[in-house]
């Protein structure tokens, strides 16, 4: 322990240059050095170094991990280092000698008793083998980490947005511009999983397993890991990668920190107001209240979600956070409670041309896109996030510890979508006759995630450790009474364009409820045996998990019509006589959505054997095999006459992996790894749901196979010291049975549906990553870049004109990238951190190259998102010793997200061109632009 904390700086070419910059000439007595995480080697920026002797001084640890005491009276000092979340260092005696610089480096050990599998093996390795210490600046596998301090300084307040700063990660935004899902190395959210403290959590999504990452306030994190290669001890259902959210754990002394901030989005000013609404009082549908046989009428519904609309000018967002932690009972009991609240107003202005699902064809050209609608939509989204977590750990003695962890996340998202009248642009209108459409939708989405984990960690014998976790989790999501109103009218205009009369509206109102829940009970157990075999340290891990999941989802939609065509809509719902087209449509049992309701039970178990040893001093071998067994059963509410109403599927995957790490020198190493992994289809996908589409219905597929993949990684690493690093990596993934959505025949010759299908061919995905970080005193630069290439070939529809048969349709195969994958992804940031000034600043730039946004069933008609770049800024300034002022500015340049169809825009009519705006690429057609504008946040943080 002691020798490790006194680890001297390894001298290397890079390091020398670095150290030279820090050298100070003159006959002063100086004590300086670096403070790093003993596990990851990361600089512990923000830690406090305290010396006590002839004088008592504190020094902060800088961004690059260094601290300096200057002009000390000569003498012996007692030096200690403290940092939240870490065990305080022991007291060191250091000599200050006039005219000399004493270099003293300290590594702190995490206070975490968190027993996630990753850290367990890491810690085991750490403790068992002193010799590989320097190799373990990073984990056993290929991963990237954002520390709490990095996250705190980031311009982002959610984990979803913070993820875009990680090398090789792009984010998929929700309609208000907030990052929601992570695409890791071109693999979309389906291929990734999310852990909290190493424990997999269920998803509040109604169909899929992936977790929306915008529900997590980023300030709750101690660090964020993106693990790109899996070891046998990790759950094997990640092909792109695993996101592990490591939450704050109990400190070793009393800690209170609090922060509060306020801000706004510049979108909601100058006439573009924020639309706020109150949720409907009907949290349950008429069928849920009165039973499925109840015939609802218009009187059963409440339109408050729309009628309570009010416009807010520049509403203020606010965030607040509080963390309290301490250690009691002779430091045996640690407790931390942390809460975070956010109330954020965001939105977007969207302009969109909707291509007709079915293209047209001429003798000269096939698959010519046509446009059916033009929309201007404004989204106003108020998101309330509440996150609370707490951790209690207790050490019975040196060998036995337990901990209890609880996490509760709640979000309310109020989204008002207003679609302005745009059909008047001429799709079916003339100078004297204008079609008007207006539609407003109010959606309240409530999501909850709860996780409770009881863990134990036991040293059974000198060389045998045992740890276990018992986990209960649930995730649920409710959309109570989503209310959607659409109005369609015909206006007659006179020669000067004024409205003469308005008539004949098609007025529709729908009330929709959906609920889903995922409950998860899991037990984990791991044995770690660390003997010495043939004079080599060997670590053998053996363990597994048992999981039971209960999933269900229900949906119901009541669609009403505006009955009387003579009623012109004048912003007053009460004047419209809404009715059901047929009285029987109000009966719950007749609701077409019933067929989509499902219940899934899943029982998984997994076992692994993992071996770690060093055959030669510089080579670390970690390998083993994991077996995952999956048993899924789904049932629906369909009657016995319905084929596929229930189904079971069981599969076993044997997942070998091998991770090699060769240390070239103390600062450089090379990693090579192979792992096999899988991705299970979404719960909703395997259920035979049916959603009516305008052209093709979409159906679930009970015959879906799970996806498997072979993954290869190669990485060169250079850690010259401090936070500096250079990582160069390459990867290759071969994906078997990839799931894609495409049009297939169903039932008879005429029926075609869009269905998730396992593609016959494998998909391949390869690329390389580079990440470099370099600090020059108070200024640091960090750059990462990832190139990805993926390809998959699927059948697509070709609509063409045959000289004899006329218009015909056939299948042709098309090779394209995986959905969501961008060839070029990069981040660049400039950091300034001065402990002296108490000022931290960061300017962050994110670039996401062109990527496939949406796959069309038709050949060559996919939507591509144009290259997108965003610039954000953030800072934090200390005011006194405990208080700081911070600010975050997002999307400084008001970057627009733009979608294109790769078809020459010359075919667009003048009216459409005027509507969508400047067509800047001749060979493509701009079909959608979304603007989010700049948002600001400023506040205070207090640490005790």
């Amino acid at each position: 322990m002691e020798s490790s904390t006194l680890n001297l700086i390894k001298t290397g070419a890079f390091l020398l240059a670095f150290v030279c910059l820090g050298l100070v000439a003159g006959a002063q007595s100086i004590i300086k050095g670096k403070v790093t995480d003993a596990g990851t080697g990361e600089p512990l920026t923000g830690a406090t170094v305290h010396i006590d002797g002839k004088t008592t001084v504190n020094a902060p640890v800088n961004l690059n991990g260094s601290y300096t005491f200057k002009n000390l009276p000569a003498g012996t000092y007692k030096l200690t280092v403290k940092f939240i979340g870490y065990k305080a260092s022991k007291e060191y005696a250091v000599e200050a000698v006039t005219g000399k610089t004493e270099v003293f480096n300290i590594a702190l050990v995490e206070n975490s008793t968190g027993l996630n599998e990753v850290t367990i093996t890491e810690q085991a390795g750490k403790e068992s083998d002193r010799a590989v210490r320097s190799l373990e600046k990073n984990a056993l596998m290929v991963e990237n980490i954002l520390s709490a301090n990095t996250i705190q300084l980031l311009p982002d307040v959610t984990v979803g947005n913070a993820l875009q700063r990680v090398s090789g990660v792009t984010i998929q935004r929700s309609s208000n511009g907030e990052g929601r899902y992570a695409i890791i190395r071109g693999m979309d959210q389906r291929y990734n999983n999310t852990l909290v403290n190493g424990i997999k959590i269920p998803s509040p999504d109604d169909k899929f397993r992936f977790v929306p990452m915008d529900v997590f306030p980023s300030e709750m994190l101690e660090h964020l890991e993106v693990i790109k290669a899996l070891t046998p001890s990790m759950e094997g259902d990640a092909i792109g990668g695993t996101m592990n959210l490591v939450m704050k754990s109990a400190p070793d002394h009393f800690v209170v920190s609090a922060n509060a901030s306020s801000g706004f989005s510049s979108l909601f000013s100058k006439g573009r107001l924020f639309t706020a609404f109150q949720g409907s009082p009907n949290t349950q549908s008429p069928a849920m209240v009165h039973g499925n046989s109840y015939a609802a009428t218009y009187a059963d519904f409440n339109n408050k979600a729309l009628t309570s609309d009010q416009s807010l000018n520049n509403p203020l967002s606010s965030t607040a956070g509080l963390t309290i932690g301490d250690r009691f009972l002779d430091r045996k009991l640690g407790v931390i409670v942390s809460a975070s609240y956010q109330n954020v107003y965001r939105g977007s202005n969207s302009t969109q041309l909707t291509p007709n699902a079915q293209p047209t064809a001429t003798a000269a050209a096939s698959n010519v896109p046509q446009f059916s609608d033009a929309y201007t939509r404004s989204y106003s989204t108020q998101t309330q996030r509440l996150g609370i977590h707490n951790k209690i750990d207790y050490s019975f003695n040196k060998n036995n510890k337990i901990s209890l962890y609880n996490l509760y996340i709640h979000t309310n998202e109020y989204q008002a979508r207003q679609t302005a009248d745009t059909l008047g642009l001429g799709l079916n209108s003339t100078l004297y006759n204008k079609q008007v459409t207006i539609s407003n939708r109010s959606t309240l989405t409530q999501q909850n995630i709860y996780n409770s984990t009881l863990q134990g960690d036991h040293q059974l014998a000198d060389k045998i450790k045992f740890n276990w976790s018992a986990v209960y989790s649930y995730a649920n999501r409710h959309q109570p009474d989503r209310t959607d109103f659409a109005y369609d009218a015909n206006q007659t205009l006179n020669s000067s364009g004024a409205i003469v009369s308005e008539l004949d509206n098609n007025t529709k109102l729908s009330h929709h409820w959906e609920n889903n829940k995922d409950q998860d009970v899991t037990g984990y157990a791991n044995f770690i045996f660390a003997p010495k075999i043939l004079n080599h340290d060997v670590e053998i891990s053996l363990g597994g998990l048992l999981r039971h999941k209960d999933r269900d989802a229900d949906y119901i939609t009541y669609s009403l019509i505006g009955g009387n065509k003579s009623t012109v809509y004048t912003n007053n719902f009460n004047s419209i006589p809404f009715v059901f087209n047929l009285a029987s449509d109000g009966v719950g049992a007749n609701n077409p959505d019933l067929q989509d309701n499902y219940t899934v039970k899943e029982d998984d178990n997994a076992e692994y054997l993992q071996l770690k040893f060093n055959p030669v001093a510089k080579l670390q071998v970690l390998g083993g095999v994991r077996v995952e067994n999956t048993l899924q059963k789904y049932t629906t509410q369909s009657p016995v006459t319905v084929s596929q109403r229930a189904g079971t599927s069981a599969y076993t995957d044997v997942l070998p992996s091998l991770h090699l790490k060769y240390e070239i020198s103390g600062a450089q190493s090379i990693r090579a790894s192979y792992f096999a992994s899988l991705s299970r289809p979404g719960y909703g996908e395997i259920v035979p749901y049916k959603v009516s589409g305008e052209y093709y219905d979409e159906e679930g597929n009970p015959y879906l196979h799970h996806i498997t993949a072979d993954n290869f990684d190669l990485r060169y690493e250079l850690f010259p010291g401090g936070a500096d690093q250079l990582l160069l990596g390459a990867f290759l993934k071969k994906i078997h049975n990839p799931i894609e959505y495409f049009v297939v025949r169903d039932g008879g010759p005429s029926n075609q549906v869009i269905k998730p299908q396992n593609d016959d061919g494998d998909a391949t995905n390869y690329g390389f990553e580079a990440q470099a970080t370099k600090f020059f005193g108070v200024i640091g630069f960090s750059v990462n870049y990832t190139y990805t290439h993926s390809s998959i070939t699927t059948d697509k529809l070709l609509y063409f004109s045959d000289p004899v048969k006329g218009l015909q349709q056939t299948y042709v195969s098309q090779t394209r990238p995986l959905q969501g994958q961008a060839d070029n992804v990069g981040n660049a940031s400039v950091l300034f951190k001065s402990g002296k000034l108490g000022l931290d600043m960061q300017l962050a730039f994110v670039y996401t190259g062109e990527r496939l946004a949406q796959v069309s069933p038709y050949y060559n008609l996919d939507f591509y998102q144009h290259a997108y770049s965003q610039l954000d800024f953030s800072f934090e300034k200390m005011i006194g010793k405990k208080l700081s002022f911070f600010g975050k500015v997002n999307n400084i340049t008001n970057a627009a997200a733009k979608l294109y169809l790769k078809y020459p825009n010359a075919q667009l009519s003048t009216q459409l061109l005027e509507f969508i705006g400047k067509q800047d690429i001749a060979a493509q057609t701009l079909v959608q632009t979304d603007y989010y504008k700049t948002s600001f946040l400023g506040g205070l943080r207090y640490k005790f």
Binding site: N433, Q435, N506, N581, G747, G748, P749, L807
Partner: protein, 476 residues
């Protein structure tokens, strides 16, 4: 004397001619008809209760003169390899929330003297006098049972001299899963197999909710049918989608919610042909008024890649005239039309003879003539432009045998939705007579057979509309 001779001659002539009139010959030769195999029993209602499902499978023969009842909530299913033949004079009473699903073959072989009847089990009173009941209170639009669904494996469905009434209830999940259709469907009749044939001859369709007849794809023949009160607040009476080929001729439509006949190539399946429909000699009365959406049409409509031709049709007081749609565009290069007649009581109707905003090309053979006046149509008329139809209001009264035009004061044009005592046959003085184009052929792709196919493909007629002075055409 001369008088006597004359009288005798007159008497003799009278006697000869008269006696010729009186003489008759009657032959009654025995023909053997083998007994129907697998007759369906009418002893008890066709019931699904107790089976644990909604399905009642049926095949074989429903016998002349018998009445069959389907229990409430059941789906009467003809399996994929089975045939149900309804002999002339069969009554099939459908309980509430029932459907007739043809996965195999369905032939309702009614005759002029013994028509078949498929309708609700309960007696529903029709309110057919114009304006006697508002559409929202009219049981015609309430979907007393679900309807007839030809699933994706149905190879033949024939409705001959058959009444289909009061259908259009929402299919719901269970029915739609059995039929391979859509849970939200509210069609009275659905057919969805482009390799199969849908034949409807001399039949009646009364009432309906959404599209009364939806052909998702199929080979079709619609000859000499009568359609009343079709569609509640929307729905095209015969709405055919991508992969539908055939002929619609001599049909009478009164009071359709939207169009009477609509052709689109939307959703053409891979391997299916392009939608190609020949329409001729159809009559449309007061169509398009219950459609609540703007500008959707009132008689004939071609859109989205559909091709074909329409000649010799008659549209009276329809909300919109013959409509060819420009977005999504019909296959205009392969569309032919002319000799079509329109009549309007009001300028609102005549202003839409060439629907504003669409691309119907006025033809020189159209009635009223497109060169009637300087306003109708103006020189330099551009397709879809607004024009002033004042000059042709009330012009060219079609002179129906019993239907007053202009419609009498006090009753709106839109209130005419059932035939009742009206008679749309032509007086000898009608301007419709002799204006028809006859030098083209119906497009027949269905089998021709007196029972298991189309029995009579009446060729184009010389008089416009569905009734011919010669007596051919619509027989109702």
């Amino acid at each position: 004397m001369k008088k006597i001779y004359f009288s005798i001659i007159a008497l003799a002539i009278a006697a000869v001619t008269g006696c010729k009139k009186w003489s008759t010959e009657h032959t009654d030769v025995y023909t053997y008809t083998p007994p129907a195999a697998s007759p369906v029993s009418d002893k008890a209602p066709l019931s699904c209760s107790g089976s644990g499902s909604t399905v009642v499978s049926v095949k074989g023969t429903m016998l002349s003169g018998k009445t069959y009842t389907v229990e409430d909530g059941c789906d009467l299913v003809i399996n994929a390899t089975d045939t149900l033949l309804m002999q002339p004079g069969v009554t099939l009473k459908m309980g509430a929330n029932t459907s007739l699903i043809a996965l195999g073959t369905l032939v309702s072989n009614g005759s002029k003297d013994f028509p078949n009847y498929i309708g609700p089990a309960t007696t529903v009173t029709k309110s057919d006098a114009p304006g006697s009941v508002s559409p929202s209170a009219d049981p015609a639009y309430s979907g007393k049972w679900k309807g007839i669904i030809g699933g994706p494996t149905c190879n033949l469905m024939v409705l001959r001299w058959t009444h289909v009434e009061f259908a259009g209830g929402t299919e719901g999940a269970a029915t739609s899963k059995i039929a391979g259709s859509g849970a939200g469907n509210q069609y009275s009749i659905l057919f969805a197999n482009y390799n199969g044939s849908y034949i409807m001859e001399d039949s009646w369709l009364y009432g309906g909710v959404d599209d009364p007849i939806r052909i998702s794809a199929g080979k079709v023949a619609f000859f000499r049918n009568t359609f009343e009160k079709n569609g509640a607040v929307g729905g095209d009476c015969i709405n055919v989608k991508g992969g539908t080929v055939g002929t619609m001729a001599y049909n009478l439509f009164i009071g359709t919610a939207t169009n009477g006949q609509k052709a689109s190539n939307k959703g053409q399946a891979t391997g299916a042909p392009q939608t190609n429909i020949v329409m001729y000699n159809n009559t449309f009365i007061s169509g398009g008024y219950r459609q609540t959406q703007s500008g959707r049409g009132g008689c004939i409509n071609y859109e989205e890649g559909a091709k074909g031709m329409y000649y010799n049709n008659v549209a009276v007081n329809c909300k919109f005239g013959y409509r060819v749609v420009g977005n999504p565009v019909a296959d205009v290069a392969n569309m032919f039309y002319g000799n079509n007649f329109q009549y309007g009581d009001s300028v609102a109707v005549t202003n839409q003879f060439y629907p504003v905003g669409y691309i119907t090309q006025p033809q020189t053979t159209d009635i009223p003539s497109i060169t009637s006046t300087s306003k109708y149509l103006p020189s330099g008329y551009v397709l879809g432009q607004i024009y002033d139809g004042t000059d042709v209001v009330g012009k060219n009264n079609p002179q129906f045998l019993n239907f007053t035009l202009p419609v009498p004061a006090g009753i709106s044009m839109s209130a005419y939705s059932a035939v009742g005592t009206f008679n749309f046959r032509l007086k000898a003085s009608s301007p419709l007579i002799g204006k028809g184009k006859t030098d083209f052929q119906p497009l027949i792709v269905v089998p021709k057979d007196p029972i298991y196919g189309l029995s009579d493909a009446t060729p184009p007629g010389a008089d416009l509309g569905c009734y011919q002075l010669s007596g051919i055409g619509n027989q109702h």
